[in-house]
Symmetry: C2
DNA sequence: TGGGATTTGTTCGTATGTATT
DNA sequence: GAATACATACGAACAAATCCC
């Protein structure tokens, strides 16, 4: 499966995809930001053909919104989509810990702890590396299941959740508490499935709460979306008035 | 998310994708079958550019294998990949029934029963519609969860499992027993989560067993794959001998 | 309201790589 | 083993749609 994690980034398309994903996770690209094909191509030194392929792939992953004859933009998930993404993510990550509990090798534990140490080290600094490492921790766990399919879906949902967080929960303030990561690893090593599951649920739930995704949707600020039901067909209000 | 089920098939790319997916599910296309860009384009009356986009999207879904500078082929999952796909599929479909148990409306039940009746009606006939309807039953269930993400993943895995079945379990012989579908709907309507989950597990497990996916992998017949570990780099045996 | 600039949709030609005789 | 046929990779260019002033 030519998915997110399978690509070795030896080809230009894969490298560009990875760069853009990272830019999105680190909030250098915000939802709604425009992604013109030739501007992208210029930035990465490739032709429009390649940029187009990249946009197509990222659209398949739900990170980019492709509108017919219109400029592509970074996806802006609706509140319903965001909630859906979070819910499925929690279910999938629960699968991950269930598969991992009591089956982690000492070597794997070392890798995880080293990663968490790195998360600790960058705490208090700029938020970009902090968010990236937090996201990658979950990817690391998924990879240890040895299930490429699970890895791909967890990665995809992780990136989409990062996108959602940058849309709905403005101040970052450690979306993923590092301590919670540490506790999860401990529970996994102890082979305590129930505790690990509960911790992971609570951990991701806390992230969702901080993003106000579990509560009522925030007041809609996008006029176009708000007014959509009141506007017929392709005509704008101004056109109808004129 | 511009996924499998979101596309309304109003564009040529979406229509071609849907056609090819169906051809794969109905076993008109078998794993390993060649998919040259221009042949595809000619068949559907589009240019190579469009065919290329289609191949790219299907590769993202794991149905097509894209090899650099080589002709694309219908994916041929290894035994490990097949098992992985089945395992994750079972987990996801378990999520589906857990969400649906006790929450189906009478209208939804009617839709499901009508679908099962249709499955019954084509039983004994040619196998293509039978397989297609069996696959679509699971899609129908997923859609009723109202979770687009879940729908997309269940669809993707369903198609990949169909591909696997056509590779490993030659005679079809009703991969999905129609009766089992009926029992699942009954359990869902009764709100019996445990029974519905158990039925779905057992149902998909039976499919996997029939495909010999849960047992030991079948004897490898693809010489190239078998000999791969014994051949260094890109050199073939003949080249090395010569 | 209209028109020019911008951006995408698509095709096609050339270069490069692969398979086969 | 080399030459030919074939298929893909990539980019340039034209047409159509959209955006913005």
């Amino acid at each position: 499966m030519a998915g997110i994690e399978t690509q070795v980034a030896k080809d230009r398309v894969g490298m560009m995809c990875q760069s853009l994903r990272r830019a999105i996770v680190e909030r250098a690209l915000a939802p709604g930001d425009r992604l013109p094909e030739d501007a992208l191509g210029d930035r990465f030194g490739v032709s429009r053909t390649i940029a187009r392929q990249v946009l197509g792939q990222l659209a398949g992953e739900g990170l980019v919104e492709l509108r017919r004859n219109r400029i592509a933009i970074v996806a802006t998930p609706s509140w319903e989509e965001a909630r859906d993404t979070f819910e499925v993510r929690i279910s999938l990550e629960r699968l991950v810990v269930q598969r991992l509990a009591g089956r982690l090798t000492a070597e794997q534990e070392a890798i995880l702890l080293a990663h968490i140490d790195e998360e600790d080290a960058v705490r208090g600094g700029p938020e970009a590396p902090s968010i990236r490492l937090a996201t990658e921790f979950h990817l690391l766990l998924a990879r240890m299941t040895g299930s490429p399919v699970l890895v791909r879906y967890v990665a995809e949902l992780g990136y989409r959740c990062a996108l959602t967080l940058s849309l709905y929960s403005r101040p970052h303030s450690s979306d993923c508490a590092v301590n919670e990561h540490r506790e999860i690893v401990a529970a996994l090593m102890a082979g305590d499935v129930d505790r690990a599951t509960h911790l992971m649920d609570h951990h991701l739930d806390a992230v969702a709460v901080r993003a106000q995704i579990v509560a009522e949707p925030p007041r809609e600020r996008d006029l176009r979306r708000v007014l959509a039901p009141y506007v017929t067909e392709k005509s704008t209000l101004r056109r109808r008035a004129g």
